[in-house]
């Protein structure tokens, strides 16, 4: 992926806070080696929001679990991940413990089970601060209370003493966001944070993220399969398919000028209120089996515009126009 380092991103100046180069993830299973992620590279700058889009099983979550060192025990990651210029991929547990939650935080999809049921919300929040910042309980309490207010939890003092099951799904998700933000991490990874929530709560949570992205210099990674979320929130987008990044661009460039047939397919799949259509469109076919990927483009079997070369040779991620990368043999978008 030599093309990536030359990629001019919409930088906010300075070095990337998170720099990922040629990250690959394999899993050893009974049926052989599965490549979940292949050669993913990206830069993330302060205050920037990166959207990661893809179908289920496209490797978008595994990419970031690998960065956090949270892969399942049969998983192995290769490549390089630099956080503030320091290599963090496959580092020691002790080092990981020091950065996870402190510099690099994640909000999981499942807010229902993401909080320990036998501990009060307040204790779970304070735990992070006493652990990483060595705060006393009362200091931690003050800080955690501020955080709850920031994520718009009414009556934080009362909520502080409650257990997770006394909260609604949206509130739990907000508590988990508060927990992730307690130490003001450099990078916040949100792994489909709104999937388990209903639409109105989704909107509130996204508004919260939007506020964070606009008012703090925390870099945000939004993993989602909802292009609408990406359009409203992100600066940059990475589209993933079968473990590879197939298109990387700024959000405007991607939405107005998609270069990869898969991205175009995804955009066509979005239901639109301003168009009169009888049925929802879908991309025909299934995502490929990751244990036996075709030698050519992984999307070729489903691609309407595939030609001979697509089946033999895998396209590399090259620059289409300034700041817009795509992995497709089609030279010009028709």
């Amino acid at each position: 992926m030599s093309g990536t380092s030359a990629r001019p991103m919409r930088t906010q100046g300075g070095e990337a806070v998170l720099q990922c180069r040629d990250l690959s993830v394999h899993f050893k299973t009974g049926e052989g080696r599965i490549s979940a992620v292949n050669g993913v590279s990206f830069d993330l700058h302060r205050g920037q929001c990166l959207g990661v889009v893809g179908e289920s099983g496209s490797g978008k979550s595994q990419t970031f679990l690998a960065i956090l060192g949270l892969l399942a025990s049969n998983g192995h990651a290769t490549g390089s991940v630099m956080l503030n210029g320091e290599e963090i991929l496959n580092t020691t547990r002790r080092k990981l413990d020091a950065i996870r939650g402190e510099k690099l935080a994640i909000v999981f999809q499942d807010s229902i089970t993401g909080l320990t049921p036998h501990k009060r919300i307040g204790d779970q929040l304070c735990e992070v601060l006493t652990q990483h910042r060595g705060m006393t309980r009362s200091q931690a309490r003050t800080r955690a209370m501020e955080m709850l207010e920031l994520v718009r939890i009414p009556e934080p003092a009362r909520r502080f003493r409650m257990y997770p099951h006394e909260f609604s799904g949206g509130m739990r998700q907000r508590v988990m966001i508060a927990q992730a933000l307690l130490c003001q991490p450099d990078v916040l990874i949100a792994d489909e944070p709104t999937t388990a929530l209903d639409v109105t709560v989704q909107a509130q949570i996204l508004k919260l993220f939007k506020g964070l992205a606009d008012h703090t210099d925390t870099a945000l990674v939004m993993i989602t399969h909802d292009l609408g979320v990406v359009a409203g929130l992100c600066d940059e987008v990475m589209v993933m398919y079968a473990g590879r990044a197939i298109e990387q661009a700024s959000v405007d460039s991607l939405f107005y000028d998609p270069r990869h047939p898969y991205t175009r397919g995804l955009l066509a799949c979005m239901p639109r209120a301003d168009r009169d259509s009888e049925s929802l469109t879908a991309i025909p076919g299934q995502p490929p089996d990751l244990s036996e990927l075709p030698p050519g483009c992984a999307y070729a079997p489903r691609c309407g515009q595939a030609f001979d070369r697509c089946l033999i040779e895998r396209p590399s991620l090259d620059m289409a126009v300034e700041g817009h990368l795509k992995a497709c043999h089609l030279e010009n978008a028709p």
Binding site: L96, D110, T116, H118, E127, Q179
Partner: protein
Amino acid sequence: MGFLSKRRDQQLAAMQAAGRTVGRSLWQDALRRFVTNRAAMGSVFVLLFISLLAIVGPLISPHSLEDFYWEYILVPPTFENAHWFGTDANGRDMFVRTFHGARISLTIGIMTTAVALLIGVTWGSVAGYFGGRIDNIMMRFVDVLYALPLLFFIIILVTVFGRNIYLVFIGIGAVEWLTMSRIVRGQTLSVKQKEYVEAARALGLSNLQIVRRHVVPNIIGPVIVFVTLLIPTTILVESYLSFLGLGVQEPMTSWGVLISQGASSIDTGPWLLVIPGTFLAVTLFCFNFIGDGLRDALDPEGR
């Protein structure tokens, strides 16, 4: 009852006041819920009363464990000569024997269970959480110990160290923690799959912190229930060891010894069985009620 409920209100108020100023833990919450459970609180008082009798009972009686009264053989409960619970076939005072037995039985029940709890929870949660090779080695060790018969183990202990009440603690404790560790391991295996454990890891907590703060508190429910079953079990195990002559020795006694002696003289002196038997049964009931109450109290979702 008025006294009880007033007392409970006071406790509640005191605890709420404490909760407001000091940091509140799971245990304080559990305690507050526990004191509102009538059956469990009643059991606590009954158990405290039995324990109190075990301590002061032998002191208030004019008789001692070694005294024989040839003129009072197999006397039913009477105020004459202060044989409140009667005497046995050797003319020994049953009141003193019952509460001396209570001392031994309760001590064995609680001590060995505490030992089993400590070792079992630590062993099981570590094995379950770390999994893989560590789990394999630790649990195979448990399997090997399981294969060792309790009696064989205790006979070896007795042969090597001589007869001693502490050997009974060690012997029973060494066997009971095995089951405890298996239960804890099984629970840990299911809890460690939960998202909150992964979330804790993502927040930068170390393995031991996760085990201590996020795994063990979430498996405490089944463990507590098992403990309340374990206390009666150890009391019963002690009684059959004593019956075989491997446990406590005359003139020392325990409820197990008294019941086995009483059972053999049920036609001539039913009180010899009924009195210690009632105390044992009431104690076991109390432990079960307390266990029930604790399980409810420790589960914040069970309210």
